[in-house]
């Protein structure tokens, strides 16, 4: 068995093991590493880990235009439902339409300055068009 300076076994030399065993050993290794950190750093790591564990895999953060957020909050309150469920309810149809190419993002895409994304979407144009379309339909 290889041992490092602290008398701990090296984790790197494991052969192929059961994923559950690997996961528990990984956790043990992380605990050992954290135990060597200064107290403030250790507590920061612990908080970070707790926050990450609380995060649900189906949760995403969305930046919504302020007016849209207000409208959604208003609707959710009026209907007495959670806002996240209301958004999920409203999204099913356009997601299907986009997947089946019944609608397209063409015309709304603008160049993005961010290296992570190729384009941004012109949400103001989309809001104006939807509002205009509604007015036309009512009249």
């Amino acid at each position: 068995m290889n041992r490092n300076t602290k008398g701990l076994t090296s984790f790197e030399e494991l052969p192929v093991v059961d994923p559950a065993v690997e996961s528990l050993l990984g956790q043990g290794k992380r605990r050992q590493d954290e135990a060597r950190l200064p107290r403030t750093e250790r507590s920061r790591k612990k908080k970070e880990r707790e926050r990450a564990e609380k995060r649900k895999p189906n949760r995403i953060n969305l930046d919504l235009p302020v007016d849209l957020k207000k409208r959604l909050e208003h609707l959710a309150k009026k209907e007495g439902v959670p806002i996240s469920q209301l958004v999920a309810f409203l999204l099913y149809e356009p997601v299907n339409q986009l997947e089946s190419q019944a609608i397209s993002l063409w015309g709304y895409k603008t160049a993005s300055g961010c290296p992570k994304f190729e384009c941004n979407l012109d949400l103001k144009r989309r809001a104006d068009e939807v509002a205009h379309h509604d007015v036309a339909r009512k009249s």
Partner: protein, 257 residues
Amino acid sequence: MHTTMAILNQKGGVGKTTTAVTLGSGLARNGYRVLLIDLDTQGNVADSLGLPHSDDLRRLLSPDLHFPLEQVITSSGIDHLDVIRSDKSTTALKQTLAGMTLREYILADVLESSAHDVILLDCAPSADLLHFAALVAADYLLIPTRLDKLAVNGVRDALQTLAALQRITRCQVAGILPTFYERVTLESHEQLIHLAQTFGKLVLPPIPQDTQCRVATRYGKTLWDYAPNAKALNGYEQGNRRVGGYLQVLERVKEWL
């Protein structure tokens, strides 16, 4: 056609009976017809299931009694789970069998007629005649081990015994099951790494140390009935999933059947 699995470690107190009872009852709950045979003179399988001790095993294997298999099988009270109990009379049985020829085949022969899907052999913590008979009768060997040096030595001894019987058994090592795992102690962690480095994929997800196992035995209940939320069953919480525990081991065992 049944699959026979011997649960064996020459070191005592490593969780052999708890493993046999928990996996046996777990498989039974999954619809498998399971026969659990106690090969230990202490008769702890009966205690764990809340049954009285009996000389079922002696009546089955003793050459002068030689009861048919179906007459010594007792229902455990759990659907699909039958047991063959043991008690102090097993000591006398071993002495009787010692003078027989082909005694290593005695279990394999009597179990041939079994209509069960799975047969689990809960072995005694000693290298005796029934221990060898179990290895000859078994298709798979499961070795539970505590995560301490002495118990891990027991794994080595079990493997040596199996190697010595290589010519007369088809038994393969199915897995090494770390029990009494404490994720916060360095010794548990070190021994698990040691096992994983030596045996690789044979090391099964560990069973967390859990007092509920002892309490369930005291009440003569299986963990599934007494404490379905026990850590020993469900493993440790790790983010959004559970790691280790008999539930995860049961899934591995079902892959061998």
